[in-house]
């Protein structure tokens, strides 16, 4: 019934290569866009919007990490550090030079990209787990630098307050304003990533992931593309860091420590390596999970256990469930939520027939 390709004819190559060539795809995207642009922000309470904002920020970061880990196959545990580079660059520019937020955003991203390329240099020689630990070293060194170099960190406290972004005369301060602000960048990031992986650069990345020696033999300069992957991924991370700083109103390196890097890795693995939709699913899942666990424990826990035990249990339960779900996904569906979604989709594609 929902067989998608029936009756769809294209007459030019460009039309056929479009992102959404099928009418049902266009409709779906339209509905989802309507939902996120109009329905959600106008009806939900500010608290839920603040959660949505956290999700948007995570989506951008997850997309960036997936470019590096999912599409190029270079495992990196340094994502948090690149975010902090972007955050502090923007914060310093905002407070020292009073520059407007577009400049800060771009500068933060570019600075993070540069640092990311430097951290990616060992990828020339090192592979696999060894490279992952080398990026971990990068994370620690960057953290230490920001912590100790007061020029960057703005003093002993190592946190810099940034003024709210201004759009003309409007100051963006409520969660609803933030929501629209972030949504624009999320859309840009998603569209950008989707186009990146369809392009020549994206194909080079995938070739490096699959068979890097063969890729080198057929003429892809793997060192250059590896560095490019690190740089682009760090650009996304830097943007995430800047947006997060604007969301909070303050840049603080303790928000970008190794736990964050591991969270983002969890997002893309649970979501599905090497897919845009997977990054989005993963980001939503990992961000919402602790909140959902807490809400449900608060609602139901009181029925079984005294309050103090519940309070002690909730955060530990969150840790346990987080870990259990990761392990569960890895055992049951190693390709992540994305594969799950595709299975559902292909089921409906030929429904009600079986094959």
């Amino acid at each position: 019934m929902i067989h998608r390709e029936c009756g769809v004819l294209k007459t030019t190559y460009e039309a056929d290569m479009g992102l959404y060539p099928l009418p049902i795809a266009k409709w779906t995207v339209g509905i989802i866009a309507g939902l996120f642009f109009a329905v959600i922000p106008l009806t939900l309470h500010e608290y839920y919007l603040s959660i949505a904002n956290l999700v948007w920020i995570a989506v951008i970061g997850a997309l960036g990490l997936n470019i590096l880990v999912g599409y190029t196959g270079q495992v990196s545990i340094g994502h948090g550090a690149f975010m902090s580079v972007g955050a502090y660059t923007a914060a310093n520019l905002a407070t020292r030079l009073d520059s407007p937020w577009p400049v800060n955003l771009l500068a933060g991203g570019l600075m993070a990209a540069a640092v990311g390329a430097v951290v990616g240099i060992p990828s020339l020689r090192i592979k696999g787990l060894y490279l992952a630990i080398a990026t971990l070293a990068g994370q620690l060194i960057i953290e230490w630098t920001i912590n100790h170099v007061t020029f960057i960190s703005g003093g002993v406290q190592a946190s810099i307050e940034v003024p709210r972004p201004r759009l003309g005369s409007m100051v963006l301060s409520s969660q609803r304003d933030m929501y629209y602000f972030l949504l624009v960048f999320v859309v840009l990031a998603i569209v950008g990533t989707m186009n990146l992986v369809r392009s020549r650069v994206g194909r080079a990345f995938i070739a490096i992931r699959d068979q890097d020696i063969a890729a080198e033999i057929i003429g892809i300069d793997i060192f250059r593309y590896k560095l490019l992957a690190f740089a682009i991924s760090s650009f996304y991370a830097g943007m995430t860091g800047v947006l997060y700083t604007y969301f909070l109103g303050i840049a603080n390196y303790e928000q970008f420590q190794i736990g964050v890097s591991i969270d983002y890795l969890a997002m893309i693995i649970i979501g599905g390596l090497g897919s845009v939709l997977g990054s989005i699913f993963g980001a939503i899942f990992v961000t919402l999970l602790p909140i959902v666990i807490r809400l449900s424990m608060e609602a139901f826990g009181g029925m079984f256990l005294p309050q103090q035990v519940v309070l002690n249990l909730i955060p530990n339960l969150r840790l346990m469930m987080f870990g259990a779900l990761i392990v569960f996904f890895l055992i049951v569906e190693p390709d992540g939520l994305n594969r799950l979604w595709r299975n559902i989709r292909s089921y409906f594609r030929i429904w009600p027939f079986a094959y």
């Binding site: 070293a137 620690l140 100790h148 693995i269 346990m320 870990g323 990761i326 392990v327």
Partner: protein, 298 residues
């Protein structure tokens, strides 16, 4: 300047002994990797759980030391077996990152279980080892470090012999080298995987006892697991002597950084100095000092 030299000797001895103890934890990591090609990001949490079990046995159930230690070791061996049977067996053949994430998830679970089952407070792990340092000239040697270093060397020697000379050890190396051929030769691959994880459990138990005595048993005990990485990367992921040498180097570098670099830069270099050294070493020898080079074919 003999005072300064005395201090230097102190730092060296401290570094070497602590390095041996890092090697003990790294040994657990290397054992698993050598036998099953699985990367265990939860090594620190293993040590923590072992420490919690033994500390609880000593403190809550008031068991004598030999019983508590034996209980801890037995429990961890059982834990290793159980873990391999239930979770890790299903992940054989998956890419590196899947196993890494699985162990990270496992680490998260263990970090949650510890405080839930045993309470969040920090416990001491008293051992019948005196606290006062042994004074040898300008050197202060805490007895616990000496014991830890000895235990570490013992295990390293023991496992080294095991892998080279004993039948089971050679079988395990065969399994690590090429699973399918090993199976074809009649080696029960799954049983050896279980054995590898059990050995890791045992090593973690001892690590938990010793480190628990040094830094107290609570959630933070799992953080010694982070020290494992520069040690195994420097030494080579699948090399047992590499775990010793890597541990010694990391211990020395940390103490030198803390003693001589920190005062100039305001502190904190101690934690990442080993990582810097590690990167430099990797650029020269990408598989660690003693690691096995992986030959890739197209």
């Amino acid at each position: 300047m003999s005072d300064d030299f005395g201090f230097f000797l102190l730092l060296m001895s401290n570094g070497l002994l602590i390095g041996l103890m890092y090697g003990l934890i790294a040994l657990g990591f290397v054992l698993v990797y050598k036998a099953t090609d699985a990367v265990n990001f939860a090594q620190g949490e293993f040590v923590m759980i072992a420490g919690i079990l033994v500390a609880a046995a000593l403190g809550v159930w008031k068991a004598p030391l030999w019983l508590a230690a034996g209980l801890g070791i037995a429990a961890m061996i059982g834990f290793g077996f159980a873990l391999e049977r239930t979770t890790l067996r299903k992940l054989i053949g998956r890419p590196v990152i899947a196993v890494v994430m699985a162990t990270i998830g496992l680490a998260s679970i263990l970090r949650g279980i510890g405080p839930t089952a045993f309470g969040a407070g920090s416990r001491p792990l008293p051992l019948p080892i005196p606290d006062e340092p042994i004074v040898v000239g300008p050197l202060f040697i805490p007895p616990i470090q000496l014991v830890g270093g000895l235990v570490s060397l013992m295990f390293l020697g023991g496992f080294g012999w095991f892998f080279v000379k004993s039948r089971k050890g050679i079988a395990m190396r065969a399994v690590a080298d090429n699973q399918q051929v090993a199976m074809a030769m009649g080696i029960n691959v799954q049983r050896y995987f279980g054995l590898a994880w059990a050995m890791t459990g045992m090593v973690s138990a001892l690590g938990g006892i010793i480190w628990g005595n040094i830094i107290g048993v609570d959630v933070n005990l799992s953080l010694v697991g982070f020290k494992v990485f520069p040690v195994v990367i420097l030494g080579g992921l699948d090399s047992i002597p590499g775990a010793v040498i890597g541990g010694l180097i990391v211990g020395l570098v940390e103490n030198i950084a803390a003693g001589y670099v920190d005062p100039y830069v305001g502190g904190g270099t101690k934690d990442f100095a080993p990582y810097v050294l590690m990167i430099l070493a990797l650029m020269i020898r990408p598989y660690g000092i003693f690691g096995k080079k992986i030959i890739e074919r197209v």
